[in-house]
């Protein structure tokens, strides 16, 4: 599995919940050289989006200064039961998605 998602399974309406995501990705900066002097081409995740029942709640533009295996944690208000969808987009056509569901009482 390429991504680890941590979303509480249940929450009370109006609770502020933390969402944590971890994706395995090399996040090559494009500034490193091999021992024989060749530049290693950049390969990073450039964008992350989280949607809650279709509405965007969090987005990030990412740069080579983000560490390998992108970790992001952010918050949202639990409004209704449903689904969180996560999307990572990166260099060389990289694209990955994941989802998690929540029950709001």
């Amino acid at each position: 599995m390429a991504a680890l998602i941590n979303v509480p399974a249940k929450a009370r309406r109006g609770d502020i919940i933390e969402i944590r995501t971890l994706t395995s990705h090399i996040m090559e900066t494009g500034f490193r050289h091999t021992a024989d002097g060749k530049l290693v081409p950049r390969d990073i995740i450039t964008s992350f989006t989280c949607r809650y029942n279709g509405t965007e709640i969090f987005r990030a533009d990412l740069f080579p200064a983000i560490a390998a295996n992108l970790y992001l944690s952010f918050f949202t208000v639990a409004k209704e039961s449903g689904k969180f969808e996560f999307e990572w987009i990166g260099d060389n056509g990289y694209s990955s998605t994941a989802s998690a569901s929540i029950i709001v009482e």
Binding site: I16, I17, T29, F31, R32, H33, T34, A35, V40, Y52, T55, E56, I57, F58, R59, A60, D61, L62, F63, P64, A65, I66, A67, A68, N69, L70, Y71, L72, S73, F74, F75, T76, V77, K79
Partner: protein
């Protein structure tokens, strides 16, 4: 004149002291403070940037610049009228001045973002928050890095 043992030792001692200051490391690829300012102006425009409200939680001394945990939080009620629109993080001496832009909304509930970053040198990290009234607030932190990231050779 041949170097005497005493001269050699005092020189070696001097190098060790200088070696403790990581700025001595010559690295042609690095963002200058001018690039940092340009990157900040790119986001902020001509608006005034005030100090405060933003909190940057990052270790003051890191052994490995390849993965540095960082949390940015902003004191905000996160209501429709008063919330944080975005958080922008910059560095001074990596090859590129940008670290990340994070876009929030009133439905975030809490203006706080955590991630892990790379730092190529001992340097300053700046976090800027854009509020819903289009004011900008910033905080800077100095971080000492003993093992640099980003530009090292691959094995």
């Amino acid at each position: 004149m041949p170097t005497t043992r005493r001269q050699f030792l005092s020189l070696a001692g001097g190098v060790t002291v200088a070696g403790a200051v990581p700025i001595v490391t010559l690295r042609p690829l690095e963002a200058t403070p001018a690039m940092l300012n340009a990157a900040i102006r790119n986001v902020v425009g001509e608006a005034q940037i005030r100090s405060g409200r933003v909190k940057l939680d990052i270790p003051p001394l890191v052994e490995n610049g390849n993965t540095v945990p960082m949390t940015v939080s902003v004191a905000s009620a996160m209501t429709a009228d008063d919330h944080v629109k975005s958080i922008h993080v910059f560095n001074e001496k990596n090859p590129q001045p940008n670290i990340g832009n994070f876009y929030l909304s009133p439905s975030s509930g809490r203006a706080q973002v955590s991630t892990r970053i790379r730092l190529a040198d001992t340097q300053k990290v700046v976090a800027i928050a854009r509020l819903s009234d289009d004011t900008f607030w910033q905080i800077a932190a100095e971080i000492v890095v003993t093992l640099a990231a980003c530009t090292e050779e691959m094995n």
